[in-house]
């Protein structure tokens, strides 16, 4: 013991290469920092600049101040996209949380094959999002779709979820639920597995019902993990793009047009550089504010 203590108090300068020791941390940090500055920070600044300019044919013509922001706020399609996105995120995250919680509760106990079950349940979140879009196109298609075929076998007609505005919205929500419930499930499962055992043993001794134990012990203990999972999913779902691109392209009408897709379309198809930049920056600022709030809330919960 004494030896270890002596080693520890030995001044670090005695170690070989002590001069290098002073600059080493900066050398270690430099490459990552440079990369992040060049690829994320600098483009972000350029993005602000672009958002204050009027572009035509891919070239900045003149400075327009905050006109692009004003235009975006007045734009009916943008407002509709924001509203659709909010509803989409709300329902998707709601269902994912409920289903993920149920699945985590079912999988936390040891059963035969439970490891295999856990692996199967997370497959959807590993599959490339573009291909998830393709998978659902094959399910929803009104001629070859599995839903249509099942409906025919039950004596019904064609099912074309993507051809009507109302059902198309729920079709993309269902896709999100299929793809991302596994993430909720994983995070909540980890939360359940790391819980202290004592309260549950005590509850058992007291003869509390399963439901009571869940409300009195599981849920309160799980609250911080639940909050993290919901925040993460909300942030991610807000910028959903890939699946929309291959499945609906925002249609029919604008019923499945989410903000990320509208931003991309305004920029790439309609070449409205400044307008798209302004729109996306506004969304990002709102999301960052939301994350900051969430981080603060989580810190308070930890205490």
């Amino acid at each position: 013991m004494a030896d270890v203590a002596a080693e520890r108090t030995r001044p670090i300068e005695r170690v070989r290469g002590a001069g290098l020791e002073k600059v080493l941390p900066y050398l270690f940090l430099a490459p990552a920092l440079l990369l992040v500055l060049a690829v994320i920070a600098y483009p972000m600044i350029r993005g602000f600049q672009i958002s204050t300019q009027f572009y035509r044919f891919g070239r900045p013509l003149r400075s327009v101040g905050l006109d692009n922001y004003r235009e975006a706020l007045d734009d009916k399609v943008f407002r509709a996209a924001v509203w659709t996105t909010i509803r989409y995120v709300f329902f998707a995250v709601l269902f994912e949380t409920l289903l993920g919680l149920v699945l985590a509760m079912l999988c936390v106990r040891e059963l035969p094959f439970i490891r295999a079950v856990r692996l199967v349940l997370i497959i959807p979140m590993i599959v490339t999002p573009v291909i998830v879009g393709l998978v659902f196109r094959l399910l929803y298609a009104s001629d070859v779709g599995l839903l249509t075929i099942i409906s025919h076998n039950l004596g019904g007609g064609d099912v074309g979820l993507l051809s009507k505005e109302g059902s198309a919205f729920w079709a993309i929500v269902l896709l999100d639920v299929w793809e991302w419930t596994p993430l909720m499930f994983l995070i909540l499962l980890a939360g359940l597995q790391s819980m202290p055992q004592e309260p549950f043993e005590a509850a058992k001794v007291d003869g509390a019902s399963g439901w009571r134990t869940f409300l009195d012990h599981t849920l309160p203990l799980l609250k911080p993990v639940l909050a993290v999972a919901i925040v993460l999913r909300t942030l991610d779902a807000f910028t959903t793009f890939d699946q929309i691109y291959v499945l609906t392209q925002g249609g029919p009408g604008t019923s499945t047009q989410l903000v990320a897709y509208y931003g991309y379309d305004s920029f790439f198809r309609f070449q409205r550089y400044g307008f798209a930049a302004a729109m996306l920056i506004m969304c990002a600022l709102v999301l960052l504010a939301f994350s900051a709030m969430a981080v603060r809330m989580l810190r308070r919960m930890d205490r």
Binding site: P31, V135, R137, L189
Partner: protein, 271 residues
């Protein structure tokens, strides 16, 4: 009875996860006639025609090679420079409160919705003349992955007792040798978890690949599949086959690392 319900619920959940994928696989082995008209669940006479048509007529090999090169390159760069940074943040006290500032910059980089970067990144890539190259994708993905690596590795390094390296350094190792000989092996489980998460996220990335590439010279698998979907709108068998082939690399990867998969995905998400 309760146990029966429990197992029944789990079986239903697994079916819910698998049926959509099963349907894609089943459709990929049908002729287009069967897919559109017969309404069968399983292919009545399975055919590889859709797959062979993909390989003979289209650029699937390119998409696959590009995805492999881009993913490996970006993840390797991010792992190396990210772990170095994480080590520096976990072990050294920096001047001017740099530690906190850097942690903040990286946190912002991690939370920032990348979609806001599409306009400036495209404009800059065009100016630099690197549109439609694998290089631009490697650099951008490496930057996206690096903040993730730092976040995940920071906590792994912090868990390794400092005494071990100091002992090694007292015995004559330089800091770098101690890092390589003592710290890295101890952090290996963390590196594996981080690498798994980074590979899956990077292989699956679509938005920037779509934005920055336009030919099979640089297009990755997700973009390739999306392009094919646009072109072969009604050839359902070929579309399904493209989906199966596109998903296969990442599914195989997941199976290879399945022992560490759950941990990697959980840590990657929460960190």
């Amino acid at each position: 009875m309760k146990r029966f319900l429990h197992i029944f619920a789990l079986v239903m959940a697994c079916l819910f996860a698998l049926v959509p994928i099963f349907w894609m696989i089943s459709t990929s082995f049908k002729t287009n006639r069967e897919a559109t008209q017969d309404g069968t669940i399983l292919p009545s006479s399975p055919t590889f025609a859709s797959y062979t048509s993909l390989f003979t007529r289209r650029e699937f090999g390119h998409y696959f090679a590009n995805a492999l090169i881009v993913t490996t390159g970006a993840v390797a760069i991010a792992l190396v420079i990210g772990s170095l940074s994480a080590y520096a943040l976990a072990r050294f006290r920096l001047k001017f409160g740099l530690q906190r500032h850097l942690a903040f910059v990286l946190l912002i980089a991690r939370m920032l919705p990348t979609v806001i970067l599409i306009v400036p990144v495209y404009v800059l890539a065009q100016k630099l003349g690197v549109l439609d190259t694998r290089l631009v994708l490697i650099v951008i993905y490496a930057a996206f992955d690096v903040s993730l690596v730092v976040w995940m590795m920071d906590s792994f390094f912090a868990e390794i007792p400092v005494d071990l390296e100091e002992a090694a350094m007292v015995d004559g190792d330089s800091r770098l040798t101690a890092f390589r000989r003592i710290v890295l092996p101890l952090a290996a489980p963390g590196l594996v978890a981080t690498a798994i998460f980074a590979v899956i996220v990077t292989y699956n990335e679509f938005l920037f690949a779509l934005l920055l590439t336009s030919t099979p010279d640089a297009q990755t698998m997700p973009v390739g599949v999306a392009t094919l979907m646009g072109r072969i709108n009604i050839d359902w068998g070929a579309m399904a086959a493209a989906g199966v082939l596109g998903a296969l690399p990442i599914i195989i990867f997941a199976m290879l690392v399945q022992r560490h998969l759950v941990r990697g995905l959980t840590l990657g998400a929460v960190k």
